[in-house]
């Protein structure tokens, strides 16, 4: 199957790619949020131990 046909998704390109795109977005956002919340707490814990 060539790339052109693959991207076209039998004419449903808009729907399929939007759906998969949204999925990727949601997974990405949760990934970022999870890492950031852990990093933020680690940073403030480090700051607190330095302050003592």
């Amino acid at each position: 199957m060539d790339l052109q046909e693959f991207l076209r998704m039998g004419g449903y390109a808009g729907y399929v790619w939007t759906a998969y795109g949204l999925t990727a977005l949601v997974l990405l956002l949760n990934w970022i949020a999870a890492r950031r919340s852990e990093a933020r707490e680690q940073e403030s814990a480090r700051r607190r131990s330095r302050a003592d």
């Binding site: 998704m9 039998g10 399929v16 998969y20 999925t23 949601v26 949760n30 999870a34 852990e38 707490e41």
Partner: protein, 242 residues
């Protein structure tokens, strides 16, 4: 065995354990999700009736599955926290909520997108989508209740009661919505239900579910570590250098 359980609930031990476990969830999750995506988009054959639009199933159904699985996991964690007074369990429940709500939103969005080419409308009041919508309301209510308290202990325990009440209601809600959708369609084809598909077309679905589950495990490990640090901020083990 109880000793192991109690050790698990001890924050410094849990913190270290989760840190070690996270990559064992994370990398396989990525691999599985990519595999399922490639398989579902490129390798699986197109459906006879729905053509390539059918491939949306491979993200829609796993999202719907995760949305329900996570709600139950959240309620179980909340119950454990409430009954045995284990703060870590409450933290786990809190961590579940945004992830579960995201999957619920995703199930609704992908379901709606799938509906347009198939049934002609952006929204359809079928059993699956309506149940997902109500589940989203349950998640949002849980998160709203949590955020309305300044006292973290009250937030934990009140939202735990809500989660337990919610999880008991979920089967009732499901059944009533099913019943409601069959009212005006005598021989109803429940629209986004899995039609009889050949087994080989379902492989990407199972792999995606495994991928999502591992992803959930990774995300919870990370968030839980953050929660532990936050709740244990004045504890000795932390000040002695973690």
């Amino acid at each position: 065995m109880w000793l192991w359980f109690h050790k698990l609930a001890s924050p410094p031990h849990a913190y270290r354990l989760l840190g070690k476990m996270a990559p064992w969830f994370g990398w396989p999750a990525l691999a599985m999700i990519l595999l399922a995506t490639w398989w579902g988009l490129a390798r699986a054959p197109a459906d006879y009736q729905q053509g390539d639009a059918f491939r949306i199933l491979y993200v829609h159904a796993p999202s719907a599955w995760m949305s329900m699985f996570i709600y139950v996991a959240m309620a179980v964690a909340a119950a454990v926290g409430l009954i045995w007074r284990i703060k870590l369990a409450h933290a786990a429940a809190a961590a579940c909520a945004p992830i579960g709500a995201s999957f619920t939103f995703l199930a609704l969005a992908t379901g709606s997108i799938w509906g347009k080419p198939m049934w002609g409308t952006w929204w359809v009041w079928d059993a699956r989508l309506t149940s997902e919508l109500i589940l989203l309301f349950l998640y949002l209510g849980y998160m709203a209740l949590r955020s309305s308290f300044d006292d973290p202990q009250r937030a934990d325990r009140a939202s735990a009661v809500l989660a337990i009440v919610g999880v008991i209601n979920v089967p009732i809600i499901h059944y009533s919505v099913e019943w409601w959708t069959t009212l005006h369609q005598p021989a109803s084809v429940t629209k986004l239900d899995k039609p009889a598909i050949a087994l080989e077309m379902l492989y990407p679905l199972f792999i995606m579910i495994i991928g999502f589950q591992l992803y959930f495990g990774w995300a919870i490990s990370r968030r839980l570590r953050g929660e532990i640090l936050r709740r244990e901020r004045n504890a000795k083990w932390l000040q002695e250098g973690a």
